[in-house]
Symmetry: C2
Subunit: 276 residues, 2 copies
C-alpha cells in the first residue's frame, strides 16, 4: 500500500477524525489499468454527489490530482479513495467541516473466479436495513457488509447475496446484481437500500455489449431461482457470471451470452481483464 493523506505521503489519521468516530464519510474503489482509471468520471461523480448528501464540502479537483498521481505509477492496481468529514469535536454535530482525503493504492486483486466457469455464491443471513435517506451511497457505515462477509470462510464461495429486511433481493456484499430471464435483464432498484455501484451505472448508461433493455425494479428470491443468467458487477472486478447459488435450486443458471457480451465489451473499451 502507498497512500496520500491530503496530498501528503503519510499513513495515519488523527483519532478525532469523524470518519473513524462516526463513519462520517465515503469511499470509492477504482481499477487502475495502464496508469489510468478508466471509470474515473463515474467515481468522481459519485464522490461529489455523496459528499453533498453528507454535508462534506469536497474539493474534487484535489482528489482527481491525487488519484492521477498514484494511478500513474501502475499498470494494473486498485486505487481506494476515502473521504471523511475530517477533524471534529466530540459529538455528532459537525460544523465548519474540512474534509480529509485518503488516497491509497493496492495490488490488483488476485482473480478468484474463472469467468468461463462462473462463480459460486451464497445467500447471507444478514439483511440490509431499509434506509432511503442513505440508499445508494457508498458511505463508511458498512457493518452490514462486514457481518455478512463474516458468515462464510470457504474460499470457493466468491460472494454473498443480500436481501433487505423485507426479503427483497438487493445486491452482493461488494457487488451489484443482474439477472437475465428470457433475454430480459433486471437489476434491483436501490432507492431503499444498497450501494449504487459504478460498474452498475456503466451497464445502465453506457450499455457495453448490451442490446436489450435493463429493467430496474424490486427483485424476489424466486426470480433468482428462475434466472437463465445471473452476474455480479463491481468497478474492480468488472463482471462475475454466477454458476451456482449454494442451497438454492437454480437449475437453469449458467454463465451466458449476455454476461460474455458485456465482458468482451468491457475488455475492448476499458481493458478490464475478462478471465484469469
Amino acid at each position: 500500500m502507498h497512500a496520500l493523506v491530503d496530498g501528503t505521503p503519510v499513513e495515519t489519521v488523527p483519532i478525532d477524525d469523524r470518519g473513524l468516530q462516526y463513519g462520517h464519510g465515503m469511499f470509492e474503489t477504482c481499477r487502475v489499468i495502464n496508469e489510468r482509471i478508466p471509470l474515473w468520471q463515474f467515481h468522481a461523480a459519485r464522490l461529489s454527489a455523496t459528499a453533498a448528501r453528507l454535508h462534506i464540502p469536497l474539493d474534487v479537483a484535489a482528489v482527481d490530482a491525487e488519484a492521477r498521481a498514484l494511478a500513474g505509477k501502475h499498470s494494473d492496481a486498485v486505487l481506494k479513495i476515502l473521504v471523511t468529514a475530517g477533524q471534529g469535536r466530540r459529538g455528532y454535530r459537525s460544523d465548519a467541516v474540512t474534509p480529509r482525503r485518503i488516497v491509497s493504492v493496492f495490488s490488483a486483486p488476485v482473480e478468484t473466479v474463472d469467468r468461463n466457469i462462473g462463480a459460486t455464491v451464497r445467500l447471507c443471513q444478514m439483511r440490509l436495513a431499509v434506509q432511503p435517506m442513505l440508499a445508494g451511497l457508498k458511505h463508511l457505515n458498512r457493518l452490514e457488509q462486514v457481518l455478512a462477509r463474516a458468515e462464510w470462510n470457504d474460499a470457493s464461495v466468491a460472494e454473498g447475496l443480500m436481501c433487505d429486511v423485507d426479503g427483497r433481493l438487493v445486491e452482493g456484499t461488494m457487488t451489484n446484481l443482474f439477472l437475465v430471464r428470457d433475454g430480459r435483464i433486471v437489476t434491483p432498484d436501490l432507492s431503499r437500500c444498497g450501494v449504487a455501484g459504478v460498474m452498475r451505472r456503466v451497464l445502465l448508461e453506457l450499455r457495453p455489449g448490451i442490446d436489450t433493455p435493463i429493467e430496474m425494479r424490486d427483485v424476489t428470491l424466486e426470480e433468482l431461482d428462475e434466472a437463465d443468467e445471473c452476474f455480479l458487477t463491481n468497478a474492480v472486478i468488472g463482471i462475475w457470471p454466477v454458476a451456482r447459488i449454494l442451497d438454492r435450486d437454480s437449475a437453469r443458471l449458467r454463465p451466458g451470452r449476455i454476461a460474455r457480451s458485456i465482458m468482451n465489451a468491457l475488455e475492448a473499451r476499458f481493458g478490464f481483464p475478462r478471465s484469469q
Copy 2:
C-alpha cells in the same frame, strides 16, 4: 484531549484501521466523577457484549486499566473508549482480528440545559432504519445520528428526537427517551433499532429514585403529545427533563416529579450533577 491508543500515548491510527474503513467497531462515552467512572460496570458489560456481536476479541481488562489510568487524573470529565477491529486488508472480510483500543479524555460537557426549566427539543426528519441485527449496539456506524444532528443549528434546541422508518418514536440523537403518563413510565423498545444506552439500563435495572414500573414497548408520537413528563438520558449528562417539543402540541409537558426524583437519586448515588 489526551489519549491512549493500545496503551500508548499517541493520537493517530493507521489508515487501514477497520474502524475508519468500515465502521467496524464500537464506542462508549463515560462520565468521570471524582477520578472514577461510576457507571463503569455497565459500560464494560456493553463493550464486551458488542465486541462479541461484531466478532472483535476484546481484552476488556486492558480497556479497564487504560480507562482507570486516564480517569484517575480528573475530578469531572468525559472518557471516550473506542474499539475497532484493528488493522485489516482491503475488503469487508476480516480474519485474525487484533482489536485497537482508543481511550481519550475530554473536558466535562458545558451544561446547555437548566434542569429546573427543562430542555427544548425537536423532531428530526431523519429516520432510524429498522435493523434488528445491529439494534441496541453503540457501534461506529452513526451516519443517521450525524445527519439528524445536522438538521438544526439553534443552540437553544438541546436534542432531536428520532422515529424509525415505520414512524415509531425511538430515541434522541444522543439520548434515550422516557415518557410519563398518569404516573406510568414508558421507554421505547429497542429490539429493531436504537442504542441501548447505559443510563437507560441504570434506570431499568437499578431504578434510582423510581417507585413505579417502567414499561418497555413501542411508543407513538401521539403518546409524546399526551405525556405529563418526558425526559432524556445518557451516561454523560444523566437526565434532561424536556419542557417543550418544537412544532408539537405537548400542552401537559413539564419537568416533573419523576424526573426530579431520578436526578436526586443519581446525584446522591453517583455524583451526577443535577443542575447548572
